[in-house]
Structures are given as structure tokens and as C-alpha cells.
């Protein structure tokens, strides 16, 4: 038995335990331990720094062998997946599960869905050829559907919409596989990889459109992003954190396997778009940049904390792809590193938001406020998370975004650079609104007795926050993983140190930056607390109201339409064009299905049969 077999075994065992004993209360803790065991099994494979390991089993379907193996890329993604599963299961194991049951949901379904997701992803990430890739892809789609559909009516609708997108994407991938099979005569990665350089430009464009389109659906790239925010946001608590952290990145994994590794960035640069100055790489980079900007500014308009974060999740995916297709050492490392940093960040953020939902019963940003006084630790988790999401020092998100900016400067791509920073600025605006409307401002009357989030939720949240800080303070370990992935997929490798990136033309050393920042805060504290009169705390209603008399029943919180001035200007730019297109496509499909229905029901079956026969004869004759 190879180490990869044991990984699959432990992962499958987790699913079986969830299936059999998911109803028992204690199972939740056992599952956390099992996710931990999966992590240990993954580390045991040793595929990150060592050679790829193949699973000892395999299947042959229609003379096509299907097999599984783990390499550095699989390891990197599986590490994030299992880690996310571990923290989310931990978060779910205590008070959350009890509350979930009280709301009339089944803990069994949740545990099964989460375990199925992790298992499906572990299988997908181990795929060794296009058939096993497709199998894993479908497993992941169905597993995510299961998790998304748990939350009741709104989530059911969102999950169905996801399924529609996922099916269309899968069809596109199937088409691409047929194309590859005719060209390579095999679905093995090695043969396909050898055949791709021989494809003509036209064939390559078709392949990119089909595969890229199919993978983009899961990744939530423009224009296939509409399903993602509602589906992720409506999923119950830890499930949402899991999906938000890693699920969409499976699309990126497939993009790396096929487009970055097999096709290669150099080929994309050579692939010019007729009648323009653009290359294939520019096209993908601009899709990524628009995926950064548009969803981020949609997030800015949300007034539900879960939706706001889910929309940001789509936007952050754009940064990863942008870094990858820039393709130089620093940029692609930044894109890969952002997958890890973002997973930590998004999981912590969603957990904090769901802790607030757990205590107050709402995620509506217009119905919260002032909770920092009641839930200070949850505030701290959210604060660490938003600093990282916005890409400010000293948190993890800054490092990966810095690398992406740096690579865009090196490559001389000014407009993409501006686009990347405009996305970051939108994120800053939006996450300030998030933290302000939940935790700052005035505490509402009904929340005056709200306690801090329960310990069973707080501990995983705080653990994630610590990791976010550490990954920002010392990005070296994560960069060493990323460098291995780069080596594997044939990208130039980033030069790194424990503190960050080594570059003779301006690098980054986070150990220095974070230390000096903390020292600066120390100086600030001395200036503030060391000198002058002692400050006195006052009641929240004791503030300057310009002559108004404040009482507790007057709403005195600025939250709705937070950026009114900005929206006055850019509000009309929100046209909902993608929604319009989606409606249009939906309408056309509706019409076609009505037409088919009509033919099927009202026309004489004999006529139908005759028409089919004639059509087949014509086809045979031609």
C-alpha cells in the first residue's frame, strides 16, 4: 500500500464514519480527529519535496486506464483543503451543531456533506489523467451541491443554479476531452501534454475556450460568476467557510494542470488574437483583472455580511489567476501563495460573521452595530481577516498581493497594475463597511446582553487568525511550498527567504516590516498612554449630536448606503449586464425546451419518427 492509498483510505473512512455515526453528538469530535489524521496522511506522502507517488489501484474504462497520483501541486491544494475541512469541522463540532439541530436541521447531513466534499477534492487532486480528473470534477460538483442545498429554501435555489452552471461547464470539459482524445489518442496527461504543442492555433483556441470555460465556472471567473455568491453565502456556517476558503479553487487547480502546465504561459504569449495587439495571455489576464474589479465593487453594494464576503471571494480568485498568467517567478508565486493566504483569511472571516449570526440571529449590516463591546475576540478575528483580505501589512494577504503587484511592474503592465490596485481599494472600502456596521458605531438595544461567541467557535477562529498573522510575519515556509509547485509545473522558481522575497531590484522582508510596525505601535502607545491626562470612558450616547438630545430609542448609526457620495457617481455604472445575459440565455433555453415539449406532445408520434428516420438516412448517405 502506498502512502497515497492510505490518504484515500483515511479520507474515505472519514466519510464512512460520518455516514454511519453522523447522528451521534460525539461523532463531531471524532471527525475533527479524522481530518487531523487525513492531514497526517497527506504529510506522510512526502510528495511536496519528494517525487510524485502513485496509488496502487487503478481502473480501466473502455481501454482507458484511470489512475491516481500525488505530486507537489496536489499536495499544496490538498493541504489547504484538508486544513479547511479540519478547522470547519472543529468550528461545527460544539455549540454550532447544537444550534443547528435546534433550528431543525440534521447534523448528519452536514457532517456527511463536509466529509464528502473533502473526500471528493482529495480524489480530484490526485487525478493522474483526464478521465480521473473528470470523475473527480463531477464528484466535487455533486458534493458541493449537497453542502449548498442544506440551508433551506434560498440555499436550495442557489444550489440548483450552481448545478446548472456546473453541468454546462462539465459539458464543455467533456467536449475538450473529446478534442484532446482525437489529437493525442489517449487521455493520459503525458500523451496529451506531448500532443498539445502540435495543436494549431485554431485548435488551441477551441481547447482554451472549452477547458478554460469549464474550469472558469467552478472558479467563478467572469462571465460565469453569478452563481457563486448566493450559493456560498446561503450555505450554513462552517459549510460556507469551507466552500468559501477552497471549493472554488478546484477550478484553479485544473487551470494550473492544463493551461499553465501543459499549454504553458509562453505558448499563451505567442498566441495572438487576430486584428488586435493582444495575446492569449493578455486576454486571460484581463478576464482575471475584471474578475477582481467587478465582483469587488458588487461586494461594496451588499448589505448582508455573508454575501459581501462571498462576492469578495470571487474577486480574490481573480488575483490568483492574474498572478499565475503573468507567469514570472514572483507573480506566479504570488498567485499560488494567495490561494493559501486567502483560504486562511476567508475561513476566519466567514467564521467570525457566522459567530455574529449565531449570537444575534442576523447578518444584515443595517441591523447590527457596536458589537465590539460585547464580542471583542470575534472583532479581533474579523479585524485580522479584513486587514489580510484588503492586503495591508502585517497580515498574510499583503505578501501575496505585493508579489502580484511587483510582477506586474517587472513585466511592464501598467493597466493591469492599476486594475489590481483599484480592486484592492474597493476591498478596503467594502471591508471597512463590514467591520464598521457590525462592530463599530452604536450598540443596539436588543444586543446589549449579547455574550462573546462560544469557545468552541472562538478557538478555531483564533487559531486561524494566528496563522494569518504568522503567514504574514514569516512567509518563508509557505513560499517554499509554492516554489516546489512552480518547479513541478514548469514555472520559474521564486527566490525567497524566511521573511519574504529576495530580489536585487527591490524585495520584501516581512520580518523587518512587521517588527518595525509593532515597534511603531509601541512608540504610539507610549506617546498616547505615557503623556497627558487620563482618559475617561463615556456612554455611547454621550457624544456630540449637534444639539439633538440622544436617547436609546433613536437610531443613531450610519450604516445604510454607506458610500452614498461614491454611489452618487458610480451607482449608474452598475447595469447588471451579466444578470441580464444570464436571464437572456435562460430565456432562450426555456423557449427551446417549450418548443421541444410541443413537438414531443402535440405532433403525431409517427411524424416525429418519420422525421428522425429521414434525418438519420440523410446523415448515413452523406
Amino acid at each position: 500500500m502506498t502512502p497515497v492509498d492510505s490518504l484515500f483510505l483515511v479520507s474515505g473512512l472519514t466519510l464512512v464514519v460520518a455516514l454511519l455515526f453522523g447522528r451521534q453528538r460525539l461523532t463531531a469530535s471524532l471527525l475533527v480527529a479524522l481530518y487531523g489524521a487525513q492531514f497526517a496522511a497527506l504529510v506522510q506522502t512526502g510528495t511536496l519535496f519528494g517525487d510524485p507517488v502513485t496509488a496502487s489501484f487503478g481502473v480501466t474504462v473502455l481501454d482507458q486506464p484511470m489512475h491516481w497520483r500525488y505530486d507537489a501541486l496536489s499536495w499544496f491544494f490538498a493541504m489547504i483543503t484538508i486544513g479547511a475541512g479540519f478547522f470547519c469541522a472543529w468550528y461545527a463540532a460544539g455549540v454550532w451543531q447544537e444550534a443547528h439541530v435546534k433550528r431543525g436541521h440534521s447534523p448528519w447531513l452536514f457532517h456527511v456533506a463536509l466529509a464528502a466534499n473533502v473526500f471528493a477534492m482529495v480524489v480530484l487532486l490526485g487525478s493522474g489523467d483526464f478521465l480521473s480528473l473528470f470523475l473527480g470534477w463531477e464528484l466535487v460538483s455533486w458534493a458541493s451541491f449537497l453542502l449548498m442545498a442544506l440551508g433551506g429554501r434560498a440555499s436550495g435555489r442557489a444550489a440548483l443554479r450552481y448545478l446548472t452552471y456546473a453541468f454546462s461547464g462539465a459539458m464543455a470539459i467533456l467536449g475538450a476531452m473529446a478534442l484532446l482524445y482525437t489529437q493525442a489518442g489517449s487521455l493520459e496527461y503525458a500523451q496529451v501534454g506531448a500532443a498539445i504543442p502540435k495543436l494549431s492555433a485554431g485548435q488551441l483556441w477551441v481547447l482554451l475556450a472549452l477547458l478554460g470555460g469549464g474550469f472558469a465556472v467552478k472558479m467563478g471567473l467572469l462571465p460565469f460568476h453569478l452563481w457563486q455568491a448566493p450559493a456560498y453565502a446561503e450555505t450554513p456556517g462552517p459549510g460556507s467557510a469551507f466552500l468559501g476558503a477552497i471549493s472554488a479553487r478546484m477550478g484553479l487547480y485544473a487551470i494550473i494542470v492544463v493551461i499553465v502546465s501543459m499549454v504553458g504561459v509562453a505558448r499563451l504569449v505567442d498566441l495572438s488574437i487576430p486584428f488586435t495587439f493582444l495575446s492569449g495571455r493578455d486576454l486571460i489576464a484581463w478576464i482575471a483583472a475584471l474578475t477582481v474589479i467587478l465582483p469587488t465593487y458588487t461586494a461594496l453594494q451588499q448589505h448582508d455580511a455573508r454575501y459581501l464576503l462571498a462576492w469578495h471571494g470571487i474577486g480574490q480568485g481573480g488575483y490568483m489567476l492574474l498572478g499565475l498568467v503573468v507567469g514570472n517567478a514572483v507573480g506566479s508565486a504570488g498567485g499560488l501563495l494567495h490561494i493559501f493566504n486567502y483560504a486562511l483569511t476567508q475561513a476566519a472571516l466567514l467564521m467570525a460573521v457566522f459567530a455574529v449570526v449565531h449570537r444575534t440571529g442576523t447578518a444584515d449590516l443595517n441591523k447590527l452595530g457596536g458589537l465590539v463591546a460585547r464580542m471583542p475576540l470575534t472583532f479581533l478575528v474579523l479585524l485580522f481577516g479584513i486587514i489580510s483580505l484588503a492586503g495591508l501589512p502585517p497580515m498574510a494577504g499583503f505578501v501575496s498581493k505585493w508579489m502580484i503587484y511587483r510582477s506586474l511592474i517587472t513585466e511592464g503592465m501598467p493597466l493591469l497594475f492599476v486594475a489590481a490596485i483599484v480592486g484592492t481599494l474597493g476591498t478596503i472600502l467594502s471591508v471597512y463597511k463590514l467591520i464598521h456596521n457590525i462592530f463599530l458605531g452604536q450598540l443596539r438595544l436588543e444586543h446589549e446582553k449579547v455574550p462573546e461567541a462560544p469557545l468552541s467557535m472562538l478557538i478555531p477562529m483564533l487559531a486561524l487568525s494566528t496563522l494569518i498573522f504568522l503567514a504574514g510575519f514569516m512567509p518563508g515556509p509557505a513560499l517554499s511550498w509554492v516554489a516546489e509547485v512552480q518547479r513541478l509545473v514548469g514555472l520559474p522558481q521564486v527566490q525567497y527567504s524566511l521573511g519574504g522575497v529576495v530580489d536585487p531590484r527591490g524585495g520584501l522582508d516581512m520580518i523587518w516590516l512587521v517588527s518595525i510596525l509593532l515597534a511603531g505601535f509601541g512608540v504610539g502607545a507610549v506617546v498616547f498612554y505615557g503623556f497627558g491626562g487620563k482618559s475617561q470612558q463615556v456612554h455611547q450616547l454621550n457624544n456630540y449630536a449637534g444639539g439633538h438630545f440622544l436617547t436609546a430609542d433613536v437610531r443613531y448609526q450610519y450604516s445604510d448606503n454607506f458610500y452614498a457620495g461614491l454611489m452618487h457617481l458610480i451607482g449608474p455604472w452598475y447595469r447588471g449586464a451579466f444578470r441580464w445575459i444570464e436571464d437572456g440565455v435562460g430565456g432562450v433555453v426555456d423557449l427551446l425546451s417549450y418548443a421541444m415539449n410541443w413537438v414531443y406532445r402535440s405532433v403525431q408520434p409517427l411524424v416525429f419518427l418519420l422525421a428522425t428516420t429521414v434525418a438519420m438516412l440523410v446523415w448515413a448517405a452523406v
Binding site: 511592474i409 463599530l440 531590484r505 505601535f521 504610539g524 498612554y529 457624544n543 452618487h568
Partner: protein, 299 residues
């Protein structure tokens, strides 16, 4: 480098920044006074102000985050100054570079925003909403300038940029090589400093509708210190990018004060724009100038 020298630099750089920053506040007030035919404040007035604000008996705090916000506002700039080379002292400029410096200066804004939010006054929150909107406005031309400069010098290390300019003389200064970007940078600086016509988000004239509404005593004192650092950082960064940095302390200070005198003088003769108008203006003229400037330096 000897670690003792480095430690000394890390202490001296923020200290120098603070003292020069206070002098810059004084210059700002003196210019305003000259234009309004007043005498203006005495030499040590900025220091008196800080001492006075700290010494006040009533120090109203709205909670821990209100206080930590001020600590972050000062602390972020103290850290940022060690990334900004001055004559004879490079600090840890090589470990961060231009982008890190830019993001480091956002920490104080974040601290201020958090502190104001905790004050639970909607007037303050509206002020922050305007301030962040303004940031979205002036940062677009600013990042175009940053990109252009970094691309032109082929590095993001500020020490190398200064070395390049000083080796080649005035003709290789950023302002001579990239005049359009230098003008766009001036625009962005005006917005960054929150000076007229872009001062509505600070709203110093009608404190009750701005971010400062709940700030009194040493809270305001802390923000005063932050302003000293902010003026210094903006002026010195501009000198570093476009005017060859400082060959010695005399030219360094002359250049920095001269650069700062531009926005301050403009401020005193202009009325103000609404936030949306600020966004519209920032996204139009300086962005066009900046993009045009980029077109000249890109291959």
C-alpha cells in the same frame, strides 16, 4: 551594517521626521497667515499645541478601539519613516521598498477609521465614508505615478532610485525625465494630504460633520502628531521620486519644504469640492496626465 548604527537610525529617522514635520506644520500656518495678511503663530506653536492637547483635563474616550486607533495612527507613521531614506540614513528601506511604504502609510488611516467608528457618532462615520471615497479617488493617479516611477528606475528600492538620480545629476531627476507623472503626482499629493480643494473629508472648518467630531484632548493631539508625520512623508517621498532625494541635509530640507509649499499655497486660495466632484476630477485630469506620462516611458 553595524547593528548599533542601524538601531540608531531606526530611532533617529522617526524622530527627525517628527521634528521636521512640526516645522512643516508651522510653515503651513505661516503661509496661510501671509496670504491672509496675519502675523501667524510663533516658532514653537506646533509643540505648544501638542503639549496643550495632551495636558487637557477632560479626555473623553469612547472605548479601547478609540484609543488603539490613535496608537495605530501614530505607530504606522513611525514605522513608515524607517522605510523612507534621508541623507546618510537608509534605515530598512531595502527591506520594504516603494509599495511596502505606500501600504504602510495606509495603516494610520485604518487606525483612524477604526477609532472614529468606535466613537459611535454618525457624523464621524460619514466623515470616514468620505475619506475612504477620497482615497479611492486620489490613489488611482497615485498608483499610475508609482508604476511609472518604479518602471522607469527599474527598481522599487528607494535607495537605488536616489542613487540613480544623484549619479546622473539634475537631467536624470524624475521630474526632468517624467514631467507629466510629476504633475500627476502633485495632484495626488494634494488629495492625499486632504488640502483644499480636497479637504471636505477632513472638514476641519466644521468639525461636527467630519471624522474628528469626537476627538478631543490627547486624541486630537495624537492626530496632530500624525499630521506632522503625514506632511513629512508626502513631501519627502515626492523629493525621493522626482527631485533626486537629498544630497545633504541642507538641500534635502530645502527641497522638501519647497515641495510642501506648493499644495499648501494652492490650498489657501481654493474653495472646496464635494467628495463626488473630487472623485470625478481625480479620475479625469491626473489620470490622463499619468497615462500620457506612462506612454512616454514605456518601451
Amino acid at each position: 551594517m553595524e547593528w548599533k548604527t542601524l538601531a540608531l537610525e531606526l530611532v533617529l529617522m522617526p524622530l527627525v521626521a517628527f521634528i521636521v514635520g512640526m516645522a512643516m506644520v508651522l510653515m503651513m500656518r505661516k503661509i496661510a497667515a501671509k496670504l491672509q495678511r496675519r502675523v501667524g503663530p510663533p516658532l514653537l506653536q506646533p509643540l505648544y499645541d501638542i503639549v496643550k492637547l495632551h495636558a487637557k483635563q477632560t479626555q473623553v474616550s469612547h472605548g479601547l478601539i478609540h484609543e488603539i486607533g490613535i496608537v495605530m495612527a501614530i505607530g504606522g507613521y513611525v514605522a513608515a519613516e524607517t522605510l523612507l531614506p534621508v541623507p546618510g540614513m537608509n534605515g530598512i528601506a531595502a527591506q520594504g521598498g516603494l509599495i511596502a511604504l505606500l501600504y504602510m502609510t495606509m495603516i494610520p488611516s485604518l487606525g483612524l477609521a477604526l477609532g472614529v467608528g468606535q466613537c459611535a457618532n454618525p457624523n464621524g462615520s460619514i466623515g470616514i465614508s468620505r475619506a475612504l471615497t477620497a482615497m479611492l479617488a486620489y490613489d488611482v493617479p497615485l498608483v499610475i505615478v508609482i508604476f511609472g516611477v518604479a518602471f522607469h528606475y527599474g527598481t522599487i528600492n528607494l535607495v537605488d532610485m536616489i542613487a540613480t538620480q544623484q549619479a546622473g545629476g539634475v537631467a536624470t531627476w524624475g521630474a526632468a525625465q517624467m514631467p507629466l507623472l510629476a504633475i500627476a503626482g502633485l495632484f495626488a499629493m494634494q488629495g492625499m494630504l486632504g488640502k483644499q480643494p480636497f479637504e471636505i473629508y477632513v472638514a476641519p472648518a466644521e468639525i461636527a460633520t467630519g471624522p474628528m467630531v469626537e476627538m478631543g484632548g490627547k486624541f486630537l493631539g495624537g492626530l496632530f502628531v500624525m499630521q506632522c508625520f503625514q506632511l513629512y512623508t508626502a513631501a519627502v517621498l515626492y523629493v525621493t521620486l522626482f527631485l533626486g532625494g537629498g544630497e545633504n541635509w541642507a538641500t534635502f530640507l530645502v527641497k522638501s519644504f519647497a515641495v510642501l509649499a506648493i499644495p499648501v499655497t494652492i490650498a489657501m486660495v481654493f474653495p472646496r469640492y464635494r467628495t463626488e466632484d473630487l472623485v470625478r476630477l481625480m479620475w479625469k485630469w491626473p489620470v490622463m496626465l499619468g497615462l500620457l506620462g506612462l506612454a512616454f516611458i514605456l518601451p
